[in-house]
């Protein structure tokens, strides 16, 4: 179960609507690589009130 992210502007729960596999670009990011997928899963969340979009590495939310 993913944690919900609240909008920084509206403080309402954002909607998690997309994931993208990205490559690590520095050694500190290696810990977030999903060994089965071969990269880091970046999550994208949008606010239903103001439309603000934010992204976060999935390893930091689960």
């Amino acid at each position: 179960m993913k944690k919900r992210i609240n909008c920084e502007k509206c403080d309402v729960p954002m909607n998690f609507h997309a994931e993208k596999l990205v490559d690590p670009v520095n050694p500190g990011e290696e810990a977030f690589v999903d060994p089965h997928l071969g990269g880091i899963v970046e999550e994208y969340h949008s606010c239903p009130d103001c439309g603000e979009t934010t992204s976060i590495r999935s390893g930091k939310t689960s």
Binding site: N15, F16, H17, C50, T53
Partner: protein, 189 residues
């Protein structure tokens, strides 16, 4: 909620070249977008974005451009075709953001001095749009012999383009509304 917010659909002028015919095209597109009810727009000229060329990607993100892309529900990209490709500086600008684009609509407008209306440049842009998370529409607009399509003041000389622009914008606005609803209300399973 989201239904009350106007759509924001900026027009990106994708070339910095002096004497660019694409300027007239981008101005026309912004003028036509602005006529649509419930839609706000502006032209973003990449020549006016202060992006350095000694680095690239999100490291050189411009706050103003990022804010506009974050606010955008869709994007119209006006791209000339240079040597069968789209301009390198357009890619440089596009690459400076990512999360701002994801699951938003994009419509492509090709411009060329020759007879093919920038179609080869558009074909090169399509895989880039996908990788940036942008959702392309069916309709394109193609300006062939662009230097003959406008007078020296930027007035469109061939009204036939307007019908195609109507079709293009109708689909783009539909896609923008649909994707906004999805981004803000439909969760990824």
């Amino acid at each position: 909620m989201g239904e009350t917010r106007p759509l924001y659909i900026p027009v990106l002028l994708g070339t910095t070249r002096k004497g660019r015919s694409s300027l007239h095209v981008a101005q026309l597109m912004a003028h036509e977008v602005a006529k649509r009810a419930g839609v706000e727009t502006e032209m973003i000229d990449i020549a006016r974005l202060p992006l350095p060329t000694d680095d690239a990607g999100e490291a050189i993100k411009d706050a103003g451009y990022s804010e506009r892309m974050n606010r955008a529900d869709a994007l119209v990209i006006v791209s000339p075709e240079y040597n069968h490709g789209y301009p390198g500086l357009l890619k440089h600008v596009l690459d400076s953001c990512l999360k701002e684009y994801v699951h938003k609509a994009v419509g492509l407008v090709g411009v060329s001095a020759g007879p093919f209306g920038g179609t080869r440049g558009i074909q090169g842009l399509l895989p880039v749009m996908r990788e940036l998370g942008l959702v392309n529409i069916f309709w394109d607009v193609n300006f062939s012999s662009a230097h003959k399509a406008f007078d020296e003041n930027g007035k469109l000389l061939d009204g036939a383009y307007l019908k195609r622009i109507d079709k293009f914008l109708a689909e783009l606005i539909w896609m923008a509304k649909t994707l906004r609803y999805g981004r803000e209300n439909i969760g990824l399973e």
